[in-house]
């Protein structure tokens, strides 16, 4: 619990800062203009830095983890996805990880019974919650595109219609709002409940979960309960996009809490485990094809190593080799 307390306090404090600053100190400009610009620069700059930093380290060896039959004899069926033998198959493998969390889908849960006896049960809850969380997050982020552009594009409108098809509240309840809160709750509860995961969890694991939870809850609050002035918010965002530094009136402090938490998360993103978003594309055990016997993989720093040559070997053992009737190079 101690490990979750610090991040919890941090998120509460981070939420209070803009509320107090805007409500009581009138620092709208700082939180509405300056912080978002800083955040976007740090986010993009930091993320690019991390990806470039990874890319600077070479991949010396071709080390895919093969999770299926390799390409070998013609009559043996290759598993193209789990043991890809060319670029496109490997790309499909990576995309199946990105979009469907394929490896996580394999998850099992080991149980130790008396005997002693091990049993492995199917365990797909982490996969389901993880997938629900990431997909709803993506839809929510894309839905927010409407705030940044004057004419709402068709795909955003379509997404909103589908997401809000239940049409049970006013404005229509977005399914993704419900799903993301439920999924994040599950992921937090799981960190407490599963002893193994609880032990390995760091404050740095709870922090982003609490942040995302807070951002979602404040957003939901604004949309369904306090009904924030959406047009002012949209004006602000369009202004920011066009580097027009004027602040529309009457947005309300709650919005600044939402915006500030998003900005902090964006700035935190490149310097934390959240970079897994970029890392998943670069993982050498997943994105390389398993064709290292067919095509030579080059290591840019392949070291020169002095080996013990056959000649040295024969020099040491020549007499013994001759006695054993082994052919030798030097008589």
């Amino acid at each position: 619990m101690k490990k979750a307390l610090m991040p919890l306090v941090m998120v509460v404090l981070l939420a209070l800062v803009p509320y107090v600053a805007v409500q009581f100190a009138g620092l709208d400009f700082l939180f509405g203009v300056i912080v978002p610009y800083v955040a976007i620069v740090v986010f993009i700059g930091g993320f690019v830095y991390r990806v470039v930093d990874w890319a600077r380290s070479p991949v010396p060896f071709r080390i895919p983890t093969t999770c299926g039959q390799e390409k070998s004899l013609d009559w043996i069926k290759q598993n193209r996805l789990e043991s890809p033998s060319n670029f496109w198959q490997a790309a499909a493998r990576v995309l199946s990880e990105v979009f469907f969390f394929r490896s996580l889908f394999r998850n099992t849960r080991a149980e130790l019974h008396n005997g002693p006896k091990l049993a492995y049960g199917s365990s797909k809850w982490l996969w389901l919650a993880g997938l629900a969380f990431h997909w709803s997050m993506l839809v929510i982020v894309l839905r927010h595109y409407r705030f940044f552009i004057a004419k709402v594009p068709g795909f955003v409108q379509l997404m909103e219609n589908v997401d809000g098809f239940l049409d049970v509240t006013l404005p229509a309840l977005y399914l993704t709002d419900v799903v993301i809160v439920a999924a994040v709750t599950f992921l937090v509860v799981r960190r407490f409940q599963d002893a193994k995961v609880r032990l390995i969890s760091l404050p740095a694991d709870y922090f982003p979960l609490f942040m995302i939870f807070a951002i979602a809850v404040v957003g939901i609050f604004m949309r369904y309960i306090t009904k924030v002035d959406v047009m002012s918010v949209k004006d602000l965002m369009i202004n920011l996009v066009h580097f027009n530094l004027t602040l529309p009136e009457g947005i309300g402090a709650l919005f600044y809490v939402h915006l500030f938490l998003v900005c902090v998360l964006a700035m935190y993103f490149p310097f934390s485990k959240l970079v897994h978003m970029g890392g998943i594309f670069m993982s050498p055990t997943r994105n390389l094809s398993n064709n290292s016997r067919e095509k030579r993989h080059v290591n840019p720093w392949n070291p020169d190593i002095k080996i013990r040559t056959y000649a040295e070997y024969e020099d040491e053992f020549r007499e013994k080799m001759k006695k054993a009737n082994l052919p030798v190079e030097k008589k």
């Binding site: 991040p7 991390r50 930093d53 990874w54 380290s57 991949v59 010396p60 060896f61 071709r62 080390i63 983890t65 093969t66 999770c67 390799e70 070998s72 990880e97 996580l104 394999r106 080991a110 130790l112 008396n114 002693p116 091990l118 492995y120 993880g130 599963d194 002893a195 995961v197 032990l199 390995i200 969890s201 760091l202 404050p203 740095a204 922090f207 310097f271 485990k273 897994h276 890392g279 998943i280 993982s283 050498p284 055990t285 016997r293 095509k295 290591n299 720093w301 392949n302 070291p303 190593i305 080996i307 013990r308 056959y310 040491e316 053992f317 013994k320 080799m321 006695k323 082994l326 052919p327």
Partner: protein, 549 residues
């Protein structure tokens, strides 16, 4: 009972009664607050100073993990940190795998050492955190400001002791990486960890001894050329006694079509020698033009368990010898880590092998296009192709006295992807093959518990625990199908699984795949067979009248 093994009754009691993270009991202490404890059976003897010196590794000295002071060299902290920085720049895998873990816990209960010991630091994620915690303390950016926040800690001798213990309780089997949503491979972390430990002289004699032998004599066991020849010849004599077929393998012969390389365990160690007899029978059966080298007389590569440079040095002999002998291509025997190196590293390290030709089976004409560049074919691919083309005269009834199951070796399954060929062969040479449960085979196979150079006697306690998940799966087929024969395609399996079976599943014997091939091969001009290669009686061949021959 081996000296360093726990009493079976006590270990069973421990499994059942002792609270364990595996059973959901939260430990009293946080991950890094538990000190390591070296006791009988959980550490390997350190390398002899003369071996360390001879191989050019650092800090040769007499020491033991049970000592308080490990006599680390002056400035060892800097050596480790510089070594880490250097490896972060050379291996994207290392950097990426330190950075991208989200601690989702999917890997936690996938490791055979965690399942067998319940030790929290054997969860793959925790094993990696042993290094990550130091990496965060000294390397990346914002984490420095928020120390306790992201689990950073200082590099101390205690950390080194922890690394030594837990990077030898990882067999680099890659099972965790199958389940990781980012493909994080603990084998990569462990390899880097071991390379770093070698920089300050923290090592294992069971690994460096064979490395030194292999460098000098050509093989891990240190067999000199004349003895190597004698031993293979004595196996050929055994074959003649048993079958009446005379086999005369050649050694270091120039101009042979194929160079055959297999782990030296197949030449010297029981039960590997029976697998060797199987190869010899097979080659005789098809009239293969092959030779065996006494210089490149080792398929395995314990250098792979120390550093990539040492792996390259030992592996280089294969191409060096193939070139000298002027063979067309190389055929490799049954071995796990040998094939990890040959499949994923050899061509990169020591290629291009442009002095060899793309392998073609001289019997079937099959072109092995999947080995077009490396020019080395796995014996199971080779034999499967022979069987498919009907080139072998096989009598699977000759293995009716065995009820078999098949153990995928980690490296073959997860570092190569060869899953079907051995099964195809096994189904053609015996009538009684039963698979173990699906979560314990193929890409999800469990390690024997002794891979990556820890198959030494004094480490038996850990080995028997680490091998427990494998043994447990074998027990399942033993109970449901009376399985009594565990078939493998790995020399380390053949060396270590017998002890594991004796401990957990007495009555189960360990076989090499090509031993069963050798049993089933009907040789031209052979004597009437009543015994298998181990001189055990075959079922249904005892009675004179039943045999029409």
């Amino acid at each position: 009972m081996p000296k360093f093994a726990p009493k079976l009754s006590e270990l069973k009691k421990e499994f059942e009664e002792k609270p364990s993270l595996l059973k959901g009991d939260y430990p009293d202490k946080e991950l890094f607050d538990t000190p390591v404890e070296f006791r009988d059976g959980n550490w390997c003897y350190p390398a002899k100073p003369e071996i360390v010196e001879d191989l050019g590794f650092a800090n040769p000295r007499k020491w033991a993990p049970t000592d308080d002071d490990w006599k680390l060299p002056d400035g060892w902290e800097k050596t480790i940190k510089d070594g880490m920085k250097d490896r972060l720049e050379r291996f994207r895998s290392f950097k990426l795998f330190l950075d991208t873990c989200v601690r989702c816990g999917a890997c936690a209960d996938k490791c055979h050492f965690f399942l067998g010991t319940g030790d929290p630091k054997n969860m793959p994620v925790a094993r990696a955190e042993l290094i990550r915690s130091v990496y965060r303390n000294d390397f990346p950016l914002a984490e420095k400001i928020l120390k306790g926040f992201s689990g950073a800690r200082k590099l101390t001798p205690e950390v080194i002791k922890e690394w030594h213990m837990y990077f030898h309780q990882c067999t680099e089997c890659r099972r965790c990486s199958v389940f990781c949503p980012f493909g994080i491979d603990t084998a990569e972390i462990t390899m880097m960890g071991r390379e770093l430990l070698h920089l300050i002289g923290v090592n294992n004699n069971w690994i460096l001894g064979p490395v030194s032998n292999c460098n000098r004599t050509g093989n891990h066991l240190g067999i000199e050329p004349h003895t190597f020849v004698q031993n293979v010849e004595s196996l050929a004599e055994d074959i003649e006694d048993l079958t009446g077929v005379a086999i005369e393998p050649t050694f270091n012969r120039k101009g042979a079509e194929v160079l055959f390389i297999t782990p030296s365990g197949d030449v010297f160690a029981d039960p590997g020698v029976y697998t060797m007899m199987g190869y010899l029978l097979l080659f005789e059966h098809i009239g293969l033009d092959y030779t065996i080298s006494t210089y490149a007389s080792e398929g395995g590569n314990f250098g792979f368990f120390t550093s990539n440079e040492m792996a390259k040095k030992l592996n280089a002999k294969m191409y060096h010898e193939a070139k000298r002998l002027g063979v067309k291509w190389i055929l490799g025997g049954e071995c796990g880590h040998m094939w990890r190196v040959v499949h994923q590293y050899m061509d990169t390290m020591n290629g291009p092998a442009d002095f060899l030709e793309q392998p073609v089976s001289p019997v079937t004409g099959t072109k092995f296009s999947n080995a077009a560049s490396t020019k080395m074919v796995h014996i199971a691919e080779f034999t499967a192709d022979l069987i498919k083309h009907g080139k072998l005269k096989l009598d699977p009834k000759r293995n009716n006295h065995l009820k078999t199951t098949f153990h995928d070796s980690c490296n073959i399954a997860r570092g190569m992807g060869m899953l079907e060929e051995p099964r195809y062969i096994l189904n053609n040479v015996c009538n009684t093959f039963h698979e173990m449960p699906e979560n314990t085979i193929r890409e999800q196979t469990f390690c024997c518990g002794s891979g990556s150079g820890i198959n030494t006697e004094e480490y038996m306690d850990i080995r028997l625990r680490g091998g427990f998940p494998r043994a447990n799966a074998v027990r399942h087929v033993k109970e449901t199908h009376d399985v009594d024969s565990l078939v493998t395609i790995c020399a380390i399996d053949r060396a270590t699984l017998p002890a594991l079976m004796n401990y957990w599943n007495p009555g189960v014997s360990v076989y090499g795949l090509h031993e069963l091939v050798g049993n089933a091969l009907v040789m031209e001009g052979e004597n009437k067979r009543t015994e298998d290669l181990r001189e055990d009686p075959m079922a249904g061949f005892e009675d004179e009248e039943d045999d029409e021959d």
